[in-house]
């Protein structure tokens, strides 16, 4: 540390701030003793130092935590002692073992019993659905598989009059043209059979094609429900049917040999890329499944309410 005219001020400031080591402080004091002219400078700088003052914080006791603890902990203890003990029944009600009798919400919202019920219900639904799907169609409608077209003909009149198109749409009708071509031979035979036997039930008008849904019959009389298409629809399939008088005598007659041939199923290859696939209606008896449906619905409702709780 070198004290001279250029450095003395900084060193003096360090001195009054007590930032110098004791040895350096002694050097400064020695320098001032040797140079009294710098003593005034030192006094002037020392005058800028504040002397300690006695200012007290008035609320010191409030800052202490001991007072709070002593006061409030005693009050809390007294309050706790004043509260009567909880009854045994209330304590038991708080226990989890007792709570198992009530509703326990499982992580997935199911308890074991209800999950079992739900699983059984699901299995039943799958089984019933599978049964419905695999059921052989009783009607005489044209059933189309992926590769083969089966045209069931129980009697001549049914097949000739019906092209059952379930849930037919205009697209379906357009594709039905190809189907009609494929089945041309069959239809021709059927027409021949009809004319020869003078047996017919109803006719299809030229400008319309009928969507017929057959009802099961216990005799050979065909009961059909015919729905007319709009007249502006371009009918791809035109079947000219001649109204034939119904002969009641022939209705109960035994099927002839030709009829027997016609009642047989014919398998038609439908490898044609434009083949039409008809999908049968899936029908579920609502009365049979009502109870099951109600159970499943109530299960989900209960589950939802438990989750809300």
């Amino acid at each position: 540390m070198q004290l001279n005219e250029s450095t003395y001020e900084t060193i003096f400031l360090l001195y009054i701030d007590k930032e110098l080591s004791p040895k350096e402080s002694l050097e400064v004091e020695a320098f001032i003793a040797d140079n009294p002219s710098y003593a005034l400078e030192m006094e002037a700088l020392q005058a800028t130092v504040l002397s300690s003052v006695n200012i007290q914080y008035p609320f010191k006791e409030n800052l202490k935590q001991q007072g709070w603890n002593a006061t409030y902990s005693t009050i809390i203890k007294e309050d706790l002692q004043a509260i009567p003990g909880l009854s045994t029944s209330f304590k038991n009600a708080l226990k989890k073992e007792v709570a198992t009798e009530g509703i326990i919400v499982k992580p997935f919202g199911f308890n074991q019993q209800k999950f079992t019920f739900a699983a059984i219900a699901a299995c039943l639904m799958v089984f019933l659905g599978y049964q419905q799907l695999t059921k052989t169609p009783a009607s005489n409608s044209i059933a189309v598989n992926t590769n083969t077209l089966v045209v069931p003909n129980t009697n001549s009149t049914k097949t000739s009059d019906e092209i059952a198109l379930s849930n037919a749409s205009p697209k379906t009708f357009a594709k039905a043209e190809t189907l009609a071509k494929t089945n041309q031979q069959v239809i021709t035979k059927l027409q021949l059979s009809n004319s020869s036997k003078t047996q017919g039930i109803h006719l299809l008008q030229k400008e319309s094609i009928a969507m017929a849904e057959t009802a099961p019959t216990n005799n050979s009389i065909n009961q059909t429900v015919i729905t007319k298409l709009p007249s502006n629809y371009n009918n791809p399939i035109t079947i000219n049917a001649i109204p034939l008088p119904i002969s009641s005598a022939n209705i109960d007659a035994e099927p002839t040999e030709v009829e027997k041939i016609l009642t047989s199923y014919e398998i038609i290859d439908t490898e044609d890329p434009d083949r039409t696939i008809f999908i049968a209606n899936f029908e579920i008896d609502g009365n049979k499944l009502r109870g099951l449906k109600r159970k499943v619905t109530s299960l989900f409702k209960n589950n939802k309410s438990e989750r809300n709780k």
Binding site: L50, I55, Y57, K64, Q65
Partner: protein
Amino acid sequence: MTDKAYNDCVDNFADGVYRFIVKNIRHTEDAQDIVQSAFEKLWVNRDQVLPEKAKSYLFTVAYHQMIDHIRKSNKMPLSEDTKIPQQQIVQEDEELKQVLMRAINELNPIQKSLVLLKDYEGYSYQEIGEIMHLSESQVKVYLHRARLILKTKLSAYAPTAS
């Protein structure tokens, strides 16, 4: 820090923190609020604060709360009609000390805090730097500038005082 250590801090440092704040902002109620907030913060964080660092922690918290307070209320510099009640003001008999206090009050907040921390609390440059988030050299430079300003002002006041 235990409860006892905290209470020791109240006994040992509350006055110093209060003096530092009240000398800076010259408003007793605000100073009391700031001190209370600083000790509240110390109590909340007592598990993280070592007892030997408690004083520095208190001054740091109080200083930054004071800076926030100054920024919010824009009370610096205060006029001479101080809001400190007369009983709270240190009875500075000597005229020179009054002049010095006036001169200090005219310093900017940083310089004022530096002088107060150094003179009242005796902190080193390093400790002041930690409290005020300044480097040691900054503290040294700013404090020396403040001293020289005070020296100039005192020399200017001295003839009028005499």
